[in-house]
């Protein structure tokens, strides 16, 4: 059954726990086809936990997460991935025992329509040059590129990018911004976790502000400048 508001991803009343710690307290937001949406918030607000919960990687969770109208809250992560959702984790998750090429082709193709490997290398030429290097021998920026690149060929249409610019040099951040805009042009839908709202403003359509495990505000990107004071207050900067 499809959502009545036509959202590709709809999160409603999402709660999640790590052990006894209650992290998410009723997250509610949606992402439409072809949008780039960010989750902004302070450290520990629950942004990454939201990503991991959508991906099915948090064992204890309840509420509702629907993707293309399919309820995924009780699904294992491998089933969710097969629907066309892919995660680029905050810690990048590059496998040390695999080389760049092996890391790149590790995620299986879950749906038709993913980018061919040659196009992925066109977007990230540096990775083609380093195809035979061990994954963890790459620089931080190259590892981040690899973490994004490897989910583009799987056919996933919904990309969850968890802090892709964290700890990277400005020139690399700019490159990742370019990539995100290109992916949007190609029709990917992207949910982005960011602490750097200056960067988020250059790529996103809308921003959700997260605090204490729930959404406290939504700011369309066009209104970001007008709401800058409020946003800085939320983020404590």
């Amino acid at each position: 059954m499809r959502n009545d508001n036509g959202a590709l991803l709809k999160v409603d009343g999402l709660e999640a726990w790590y052990g006894e710690s209650h992290i998410l307290h009723g997250m509610k937001f949606d992402v439409h086809q072809g949008e780039v949406v960010t989750l902004l918030g302070r450290n520990g607000a629950g942004k990454s936990t939201t990503m991991r919960s959508i991906m099915g990687m948090v064992a204890k969770r309840k509420g509702s997460v629907t993707f293309e109208g399919t309820e995924t809250i009780a699904m294992n992560s491998n089933k969710i991935a097969r629907l066309g959702v892919a995660l680029c984790p905050e810690e990048r998750g590059i496998f040390a025992s695999l080389n760049v090429k092996e890391n790149m082709v590790l995620p299986p193709v879950v749906k038709p329509g993913g980018l061919p490997l040659s196009e992925v290398y066109d977007l990230f030429p540096r990775l083609a040059e380093r195809a035979n290097s061990q994954g963890t021998k790459l620089s931080g920026g190259e590892q981040q590129m690899l973490a994004i690149a490897r989910i583009l060929r799987t056919g996933a249409t919904m990309l969850l990018l968890d802090e892709p610019t964290e700890g990277l040099a400005p020139v690399i951040v700019q490159h990742i911004g370019d990539i995100i805009r290109k992916l949007k042009e190609r029709g990917f839908t992207i949910l982005l976790v960011e602490q750097n709202f200056h960067f988020a403003a250059t790529v996103a359509d809308r921003h959700y502000v997260v605090e204490h495990g729930h959404v406290i505000d939504m700011i369309p990107n066009a209104e970001l400048q007008a709401n800058m004071g409020k946003l800085k207050g939320y983020l404590g900067v």
């Binding site: 491998n78 892919a86 496998f95 025992s97 590790l106 995620p107 299986p108 989910i151 799987t154």
Partner: protein, 295 residues
């Protein structure tokens, strides 16, 4: 009589061959242990009992069903692996998030139960298992007599070890396995059914032990304690090679078998302990093992 370094060549090469054969068993068993430890985080102490089960399935098949050696070589690993998979699903899978010690204790208990069961039924005197007629006899190489069956064991074990290494290092399935050893949650989030992969890996590791057990049946007598006698040495091999290292297990298995064989020629009194002496030295100098990462 030909001699080399003052030692009769027949004795020297005879012991080398024995060492190579022992090494073949060390390699096959430690390979299975390394695979299981890598992905499941379980120190599979019941590995020796599963090796013994492989030999017993071969013996029971021949005795009661007339199934010959080749049938046993094909079917015993499957049967024992199925038994292993039941253990994994019903018991081991509950322990993955706990300390290694719990898995070790559970599998140690299982080994005692399995061995006790076979002891109760068949005693400890050991049952003979004939060398298959295709592999009976031997070749006189001039400097030594080479029994065909023993050459076959070394050959089969090399094929098995190299095949397993290629499977893990050079195939997509192997890449999934290596990746899941590092970060199973992320591999599952890519769409791979990691729990099924873990179960099949345990089954495969157990099948390797059972295959070794069938190979061993015509060399050593089939008895319920054949596994427990071997498994302590195999654990030393794994420690020396490096826990979880596939190539480490294979190379160390063969090298230590040969070292043990040579020690029997040079200083027989130390043959039973030389592997443990090497283990102590390796633990002191390179605690992660010769092929292990870190330390």
């Amino acid at each position: 009589m030909m001699t080399l370094f003052g030692i009769p060549t027949a004795a020297l090469f005879g012991q080398l061959l024995l060492g190579l054969i022992n090494g073949a068993f060390y390699a096959m068993l430690s390979l299975g242990l390394a695979l299981i430890f890598g992905l499941l985080n379980i120190i599979n102490f019941s590995h020796g009992a599963q090796y013994m089960m492989g030999a017993f399935v071969a013996w029971l098949g021949l005795t009661y069903l007339g199934a010959n050696y080749w049938v046993a070589l094909a079917l015993a690993p499957v049967i024992v692996a199925a038994f292993g998979i039941v253990l994994e699903r019903t018991m081991l899978s509950r322990l993955y998030k706990l300390d290694h010690l719990y898995g070790l204790l559970l599998t140690f208990g299982l080994a005692l139960i399995i061995e006790g069961f076979f002891r109760q039924l068949y005693g400890i005197s050991g049952m003979p298992y004939a060398v298959p007629k295709e592999l009976a006899g031997g070749w006189n190489l001039g400097f030594m007599y080479l029994p065909i069956y023993r050459a076959w064991v070394v050959f089969a074990s090399l094929v098995l070890c190299i095949g397993t290494w290629l499977l893990i290092e050079k195939t997509k399935l192997g890449a999934y396995l290596r990746a899941a050893t590092e970060n199973p949650a992320l591999v599952q989030a890519f769409g791979i059914n990691v729990p099924v992969m873990i179960t099949l890996t345990y089954g495969f590791g157990v099948a390797l032990a059972a295959f070794a057990g069938v190979l061993a049946a015509p060399i050593y007598s089939v008895n319920p304690l054949m596994g427990s006698n071997l498994i302590i040495v195999v654990f030393a091999v794994v420690v020396i090679g490096g826990m979880g290292s596939i190539m480490g297990s294979i190379v160390t298995g063969f090298m230590l078998g040969i070292l043990e064989g040579l020690t029997k020629v040079v200083y027989p009194e130390a043959a039973g302990t030389v592997i443990f002496m090497v283990m102590v030295i390796v633990l002191l100098i390179k605690p992660a093992g010769l092929f292990g990462k870190g330390a």
